[in-house]
Every structure is written in C-alpha cells, then in structure tokens.
C-alpha cells in the first residue's frame, strides 16, 4: 500500500515537473505581457523599465532557472497584475473552485447513482427513457446558454434566486445547478450501463436466490460492484471541475480558479498561470491517488 502511494507520488511529481516545463515555455510563446499591462501609448523607456522590473529581458532559460530556484524556496513569484504573491492569488481562488467542485460532484454522484440504478433496474421502462432523454438533452446544451436563461428566468423574472455572486447558500444554487447538468448525464449513463452488466452477474443471482429484497439487491449487492468503473468517470469529471468551470465562474461572478486562469492567460500573468496549474494539477494528482485507494476500499480484491 505504502509502496503504491510512493510510486504514484513519484509518478505524479514527474508529471508535475513536465507540466511546469511545458507551461513555462509554452505560455511565454503567447506574447509579452508588457503590451497588455502598459497602456498602448506607453513610451519605449517605460516598456524597457517594465521588462527590467519583471525580468522579462533575460533569455528564457535564465528566466526559467530563476523561476525554478525560487520555486525550490516555495516562492511562486509575484502576480504582475495584482502585485502580490501569485500563490496567494491562486489559493484564494482555488478555495472557491474546490468547494464548488466538491459540492457539485457529491450532488451529481448521489443523483446519478440513484437515478442510474433505478433506470438500470427498469431498463427500457418509462423512468429509464425519461431520465436518459433528460440527461442527453442536458449534456447537449451549452452551459453559458443554460446559465443566462437560468438567470433571466429564476433571478429576474421570478426573483427566486440572486443573479450571481457569492455570499449565501442561495448564491450557490444556480452555479451548481448549471455545473450539475453535464456530469450528471454522463455519470448517469455510466452507472446505468455498469449496473446493467452487474445486475446480470452471478452473485446477483445468488442474492435473488437468497431472498434478498430488491432494494437491497440494487443498492447493496449491485451498486458497490457497479461503482468501480463509475469511479474513474467521476474522477475525470471532478478533475475537469477542479481545473475550473470557466464559463460558469465567468457568468456568475464566481471568484474561482477557472476565471482566474482565463484572466491570467489573456493578460499573460505567467506566474499566476503557473501557480494555478500547479495547484490544480496537484489537487488532481492527489484526487487520482485517492481514487485508486478508493478502488481498494470498494473492492477487497485490489491490493496495492
């Protein structure tokens, strides 16, 4: 077990290093932040001064060396835009994204598992068709579209919910609702498929022969086994949420890491980009390791 975790951590660190190198050099190919930070009619002297100040004049490799050196001292550099440590900027945003992702994934998982299981048990039935169709339509609707319509309807027309922002639980409903739709449809389909094949397995037959109640067959015997392939999908979806739900964060004014990332990318705030990617990648790596451990928890046959 420990050996496994150690192996995975090593592999993740290798990936992380690769990621840093890649992002560092690639992001610098997208242009110079000087033009974006300084007004369009700034003088050459001002530009020179700005580049000097942020070390943009040095050869890339020198910049990279300096960055790595600072990184080894846990210094992620300054945000050019916000004039404060990049890591603070990122962590502040990440907390929001993390909460949003966790709450959404918990709700999605619960809903998708329950609906998917019931749909699988009555495969081809009315509920199955209804839920499948709903999830398909949901998965095909652009999220910015859903978001704007939801605001127009729920906030402006009906005044049930605040339009956007953060503050109270009410503020979370629409962002979560919009984020909910796509992973729900996807996970539901996987749960349904996995449940269908598990329901046909031999031990379910045993359970039926034992006189176990239907509810217990679905939610105790089948589900635990059917969840194994589902976990991977849940992980993938959670990873994409951790990477930031850019569109939803943008529209609802949610101060998350997705919005931060797109802003930093558009403004070429390199240190923030790098810090944001490192934080989210780290979170994703940790989550992947936890998922693998989760496998072992769900399935006693798996031992690392």
């Amino acid at each position: 077990m420990l050996r496994f975790v150690r192996q995975r951590v090593t592999a993740s660190l290798i990936s992380l290093v690769g990621l840093i190198v890649l992002v560092f050099f690639l992001s610098r190919l997208t242009g110079d932040p000087t033009n974006l930070f300084l007004p369009i009619d700034a003088s050459d002297q001002m530009r020179e001064q700005f580049r000097q100040l942020h070390g943009l004049n040095d050869p890339l490799i020198v910049q990279f060396g300096r960055y790595v050196w600072d990184l080894l001292h846990l210094d992620f550099g300054e945000s050019i835009r916000q004039a404060r440590p990049a890591i603070n900027v990122v962590l502040q945003a990440f907390v929001w994204t993390f909460q949003l992702a966790v709450i959404t994934m918990v709700l999605v998982t619960l809903a998708a598992v329950v609906c998917g299981s019931l749909a699988a048990f009555n495969a081809g039935g009315l509920f199955d068709r209804f839920v499948s169709l709903l999830s398909l339509i949901g998965a095909a609707a652009p999220d910015f579209w859903v978001a704007i319509v939801a605001i127009t309807l729920l906030a402006v027309k009906l005044s049930w919910l605040p339009t956007s922002g953060t503050g109270t639980l009410w503020h979370w409903i629409m962002p979560i609702g919009v984020l909910f739709i796509r992973p729900f449809g996807l996970i539901l389909q996987v749960v349904r498929g996995s449940m269908l094949s598990t329901l046909g397995s031999a031990y379910v037959k045993t359970a039926r022969a034992k006189g176990v109640r239907t509810k217990s067959i679905i939610f105790v015997h089948t589900l635990r086994n059917a969840l194994l392939p589902v976990i991977t999908v849940i992980g993938d979806q959670a990873a994409s949420l951790l990477n930031g739900a850019v569109v939803v964060e943008t529209i609802f004014g949610f101060p998350g890491v997705g919005k931060l990332m797109i802003d930093s990318i558009l403004q070429r705030d390199f240190n923030v980009i790098l810090a944001a990617i490192m934080v989210t990648a780290l979170a994703i790596f940790v989550m992947n390791i936890l998922i693998d451990l989760g496998y072992a928890l769900l399935d006693p046959r798996i031992r690392y």
Binding site: L136, A140, G244
Partner: protein
C-alpha cells in the same frame, strides 16, 4: 445469465437472415428514435457538404433592414423563416452554412484525438516497457494542462482557423481515448486468442492490428460519438470566451455565443443554432446508444425480438 446458456446451443445459433447491411438497417428501423437520429444526421451531413456552395453569399451578406427579423415569417424570404440575425442575415442559411465548419471541427477533432489516442493507448497497453510509462505520464500532463491555455497558445501562434481549432480540441481529448484503449488492451492481451496467435508465431504488429484492435474499436467508436457533442460544446465555449473561431467564419457555437447578448429581445439568434447543436448531439447519443445495444450480444435481442414477431 440464463439467456446466454440457452443461446449456447448450436440449434439456437442459426445464421440470421440477410446480409449484414440489411440486418443493421432492419435493426435501425426497429428503434424509431435511432432511426430519426440517423435521418437527422444524414441531413446535417448533406448540409455540411453542400450548404456553403449554395448559400454562402446569402448567409454572409448583411441586410440591416431585416435586422433581428423574427422567425416564422416569410417577409424576408423563405430562408429567413427562422428569423434573421443582428445583421439581417437569414438564420436558416447561416445554420446550414455553419454546419460545414461545425462538422469539420467536430469530426476533425474527434477523428484526430481518437486516432492518436487509440494508437498511443495500444502502444501503452501492449508494450510493458518504458514507452508505456512515458505515454501515461504524457496523458497525466495533458489532462492537467488547462485546455484554455492550450487554445490561447495555439490560436495566438497560429491564428484561429478550423484546422488549428481541431488541433487544440484534439489534443485535449486524447487522454480519454488513450486511457480507455490502454485499459481495454491490458485486458484483451491476456485473452486466450491472443496467446493462440502468439503460439502460431504472429508478430506483435499482427497481434495488435488483427486481434486486439478490432475488439477495441467499438468502444472507441462509442466514446467518439459521445465526444462529438463535447467537442461541439467546447468549441462554442471557446467562442464565448473570445478565443475560438472568429468571424466572418461561422460555426454553430459561434452563432450561439454571438446570439447570447440578444437573448432578452431576439431569442431566436441563439436558440436555433443551440437547437442544432442539441439535436445533433442528441442524435449522436441516441445512435450510439442504439449501436451499443447492437454490438452487445446480451442486449441485441431487444432490437431483434420484435423482428421475429413482425
């Protein structure tokens, strides 16, 4: 399951009637939803192939007199039956013309990512050596590499075009295929028939291409159909964020994101292209669900049973 035991009898496995093609068509005919989906996709493909040659001029010429013309009126010609956009261009014509770029981006991205992902997955799954490890680390990196940054990088350096958009979207989707293919290969290569081929002296290449690949392909195709929807939506999200395809090129995603600001007073600008996306993805999903049933011998009876009754 019981039914498989029964199906195990030689008598039960008579060769189904007709050629493979007619059998598939018949099964498609049985599932009315999938049939509608298939017909709809056929229409979309036709539009994508021929639309721009017929309608490009009408779809791009501004006509401010017909600005935001409401739908269901023939006042500005039958092509404006779905209304007109902020420049008075008929939406129906634009949707038809845009289908080419939309389909090009979606098909291109899906095909590229599926191809590259599957090849890498085959290598990663079949070779036990270092190559597999490197590929998996690469997948890790791509997965945690924000697709937006990638989009900005590629589109900044290479300018936003259909081709470059395909590159961006394809790269971000590679890990999905890679991981699935690898997982399947890991399982399949342990199967008996692979060993049987080894015993006959089959080369690795032959085993991968002739024995493993055909088993993996249905899974890849299923994911690909689902991914189609994802790619179309990703493309529209990029347009929404201002880093996707740029006008005067049009895609459905771009139309939706442009029409978004008119949601309050001219809903049809975003609605119709949105509906086109939804219907296309829905059709693909329905078709892929149908295909999953067709490819699964345990479930195929659902489609074939009614045939025998009919």
């Amino acid at each position: 399951m019981l039914s498989t035991e029964i199906v195990g009898t030689p008598e039960a496995i008579a060769v189904p009637r007709g050629t493979a093609a007619t059998r598939v068509l018949r099964m498609l005919y049985r599932d009315k939803l999938a049939l509608c989906a298939g017909i709809f996709l056929l229409i979309v493909i036709t539009c994508a192939l021929f639309g721009p040659y017929l309608l490009n001029d009408i779809a791009t010429r501004p006509n401010l007199r017909a600005r935001n013309a409401p739908p269901f009126s023939l006042a500005h010609g039958w092509l404006a039956v779905l209304g007109a956009d902020a420049l008075g261009r008929p939406l129906l014509a634009r949707i038809i013309v845009a289908s080419q770029n939309t389909m090009a981006v979606a098909c291109g991205a899906v095909a590229c990512s599926a191809l590259v992902g599957a090849v890498l997955g085959l290598v990663a799954g079949y070779s036990r050596g270092r190559g597999g490890q490197i590929i998996m680390r690469l997948a890790d990196i791509i997965m945690s590499f924000p697709s937006l940054l990638l989009a900005v990088i590629v589109l900044y350096m290479l300018a936003p075009s259909v081709g470059n958009l395909i590159v961006v979207l394809a790269i971000t989707r590679i890990p999905v295929y890679l991981r699935t293919t690898r997982a399947e290969v890991l399982e399949i290569r342990e199967r008996m028939f692979v060993q049987a081929a080894t015993v006959m002296g089959a080369s690795r290449m032959r085993i991968v291409l002739r024995h493993i690949l055909p088993i993996v392909i249905p899974t890849i195709v299923t994911i690909a159909t689902l991914d189609f929807a994802f790619v179309m939506l990703a493309e529209s999200s990029l347009s929404f964020l201002g880093i996707g395809i740029q006008p005067p090129q049009i895609t459905w995603g771009l139309m939706v994101s442009q029409g978004r600001s008119y949601l309050a007073n001219a809903w049809w600008l975003a609605f119709w292209p949105g509906l086109a996306i939804i219907l296309t993805t829905l059709s693909l999903n329905l078709l892929s669900n149908w295909m999953r049933v067709v490819l699964d011998p345990v479930q195929r009876w659902r489609l074939e049973m009614r045939k025998t009754e009919a």
